[in-house]
């Protein structure tokens, strides 16, 4: 009864927020207020239970890759849309699909979870399997110490009873896995070819000397990324290789696919069909805002490069095949301290047309020290965007925007993209 009320009220909230073009978390919040056990109940009867995916970077992409690989393997999967990784976001996603009894009818739930909310979500959703992608430099203003992030991941990884899948190249995760070795979950790992890893900026590597808080004996990886070139990766599972078309270029996307394959293999065991997994990932669209290309009302292509944190900005820049012709940089208080951009290799950026956002002067300063010409610094987004869009179309047909999450959302809204991240 209580659940039915929660579902109805949540759905009503969903209709209302959609009419308003508003956020996606509110309906879930309503449902959780009415039925505090809404999440537990939704997943209780899933035949294959709940799987968590977490880590500093690549959560959304990896989750969607795992979902695609499982679906193409014939599994009926429930998942949360990218970024909806807090309790209310997951509840909203459930509202979008569950019937009045609030129980999901799928076979399995594969959920992206926020590092900090993972521990409390694990208490409610009891994941039997956990996939951890990486521990990287992320939002030091929020997380302070990487140790804290490791502790958060460890506390919900410890809940897993079937499979714990970790990145064998990440010292912190290898140490975490060895501490949980006798907790009952079967450990498996994925790894990147050392040559590829060496090309990656040290900031984004699992052996980062500023982050690797412990050393542990290396673990063997049965799923390996063998090569990555443009949008094609070669991934080996148990020694058998397959070509995978990635939804967006870049080594980070190839690593995410490898992580997804490792968990799919663990979950499906001998029933895992590698070719089907590759087909699943190959048919994916780019994940919201991650190397995504959107169109202006005038039909111009805009490539969005998100700079959530140092590794994400670096891998996005490194993945550019050549320096972009036209660049807008937009950063606001969603990035409280952008000091770290001095540690980023900006050599892919040769010129910047417009810098905007409340942090615009700090970015103009950074570019000036790099000898990168900045044409205009325009603090307000509206005029800055107008100026950028009014530039003559570039030869490549594509303009590039380097943005933080908050500015990306505002830009999408201005360009008439009504749908918000997390809205299913």
């Amino acid at each position: 009864m209580r659940t039915a009320l929660a579902v109805l009220a949540g759905r009503l909230a969903r209709v209302l927020t959609r009419l308003r073009g508003g956020g996606s978390a509110f309906p879930g919040r309503v449902a959780l207020l009415i039925a505090p056990r809404f999440l537990q109940r939704a997943v209780e009867n899933l035949p294959l239970g709940v799987v968590f995916v977490s880590g500093s970077n690549g959560k959304s992409t990896t989750t969607q890759m795992l979902v695609s690989a499982l679906r193409e393997n014939g599994v009926d999967v429930f998942t949360n849309p990218s970024g909806a990784n807090l309790p209310q976001g997951i509840a909203s996603a459930i509202l979008a699909t569950a019937p009045l009894d609030g129980r999901l009818r799928n076979t399995i739930a594969v959920l992206e979870v926020d590092e900090a909310f993972g521990p409390q979500l694990a208490k409610r959703l009891v994941p039997h399997s956990v996939l951890l992608i990486n521990v990287q430099v992320d939002q030091l203003n929020r997380f302070h110490e990487p140790d804290r992030v490791v502790g958060m991941l460890e506390s919900f990884a410890a809940v897993a009873t079937r499979h714990l899948v970790v990145n064998a190249d990440d010292h912190n995760l290898v140490a975490l896995a060895s501490r949980l070795a006798d907790r009952g979950a079967e450990l498996s790992a994925f790894a990147t070819d050392p040559k590829l890893l060496a090309e990656s900026a040290w900031l984004a590597r699992g052996d980062n000397p500023a982050l690797a808080t412990s050393q542990a004996a290396p673990i063997a990886a049965s799923t390996r990324l063998v090569s990555a070139h443009d949008e094609v990766a070669v991934i080996e599972v148990d020694g058998v290789g397959v070509d995978v078309m990635l939804p967006a270029r870049g080594l980070h996307n190839a690593v995410d696919a490898t992580a997804a394959f490792a968990m799919a293999r663990a979950l499906l065991g001998d029933g895992f069909d590698l070719a089907a997994a590759a087909r699943g990932v190959g048919s994916m669209a780019a994940v919201y805002g991650r190397g995504e290309v959107i169109r202006t009302p005038a039909g111009e292509e805009l490539e969005l490069l998100m700079m959530k944190n140092p590794p994400s900005m670096q891998v996005n820049l490194d993945a550019l095949p050549e320096p972009p012709e036209q660049v807008l940089v937009a950063v606001d208080e969603g990035t409280p301290d952008p000091s770290w951009v001095y540690g980023t290799d900006l050599s892919k950026i040769r010129r910047v047309d417009v810098v905007t956002g409340t942090k615009c002067w700090q970015f103009a300063t950074r570019f000036a020290y790099e000898g990168v010409r900045v044409d205009a610094v325009v603090p307000e987004l509206g005029p800055a965007l107008d100026r950028f869009l009014a530039l003559p179309p570039p030869a490549t047909g594509r303009k590039t925007m380097v943005v933080n999450y908050e500015q990306m959302m505002l830009i999408r809204k201005r360009l008439g993209y009504r749908e918000l991240e997390g809205a299913s």
Binding site: V137, D147, A210, P310, Y342, G343, Q362
Partner: protein, 238 residues
């Protein structure tokens, strides 16, 4: 040639404090002053001489294993400081160059004893934009630290913040501070002060700066102004 030693650029290098080194290097270039940067990581040897030393910040977990390493260099670093070599040490790097750090569990790690201070790691975190006054005028930046830093008696703070708090220490050419931004790109008056001290030690003279310096200093001033506005402080005079 000015020799700038950058201690632990990778180990204490996730928060962009390398921007201080960038500012010094580029500004030296704009004034025609030859400057080389020598990176010294864990396990590396120090060069025989230095005219300026920089050390950045990082999480406690990155600092802790470095106490054993810095002990190898403590004597030489102190002799440089005694000879007037300026040091710029940020947050965890400042703690490492101080006399000692008391960790959360009560254990004490010895520092290099270059800077006249001690630190006690605190579970409370101070995070946010700040602005304040130094002996060279106003400064602004961002702090993100979890420690109580105690200056030795008679040592002045680097900055008196608008919040009423004091930041860091300054003793001759020795500076310890919790300011990011990074400090020197955001507050170029201090980059030039450190550069002048180092140039004098190295016997290097420069020429009038390139016009690019005026442009970047204007961007930096506007960056500080933006922070002041967010803190509700009056705008800087043009």
């Amino acid at each position: 040639m000015i020799t700038l030693v950058h201690l632990y650029p990778r180990e204490l290098g996730i928060n962009g404090d390398v921007g201080n080194v960038t500012a010094l290097r580029v500004r030296a270039g704009w004034r025609g002053m030859p400057l080389e940067v020598i990176d010294v990581g864990a396990g590396d040897a120090l060069p025989s001489t230095a005219h300026l030393v920089h050390i950045g910040s990082g999480p406690a977990s990155a600092r802790q294993p470095l106490h054993a390493d810095i002990a190898r260099h403590a004597k030489k670093l102190r002799s440089w400081a005694d000879a007037g070599v300026p040091f710029l040490a940020i947050a965890a790097g400042w703690q490492l160059l101080g006399r000692e750090v008391t960790e959360l569990d009560g254990s004490v790690s010895a520092g290099a004893g270059v800077l006249p201070s001690t630190a006690r790691v605190s579970p409370e975190r101070v995070v946010g934009e700040v602005a304040g006054e130094t002996e060279l005028g106003e400064v602004a930046g961002f702090v993100n630290f979890g420690a109580d830093d105690a200056r030795d008696a008679g040592v002045a703070p680097f900055a008196r913040l608008a919040s009423g708090a004091e930041d860091g220490l300054i003793a001759g050419g020795l500076i310890g501070t919790n300011l990011h931004g990074p400090l020197l790109p955001m507050n170029p008056v201090w980059a030039d002060r450190l550069l002048d001290l180092a140039a004098e030690l190295a016997g290097v003279t420069g020429h009038e700066p390139d016009a690019r310096r005026a442009e970047v200093d204007d961007y930096a001033r506007r960056s500080r102004d933006a922070i002041r506005a967010r803190l509700g402080l009056p705008a800087l005079p043009r």
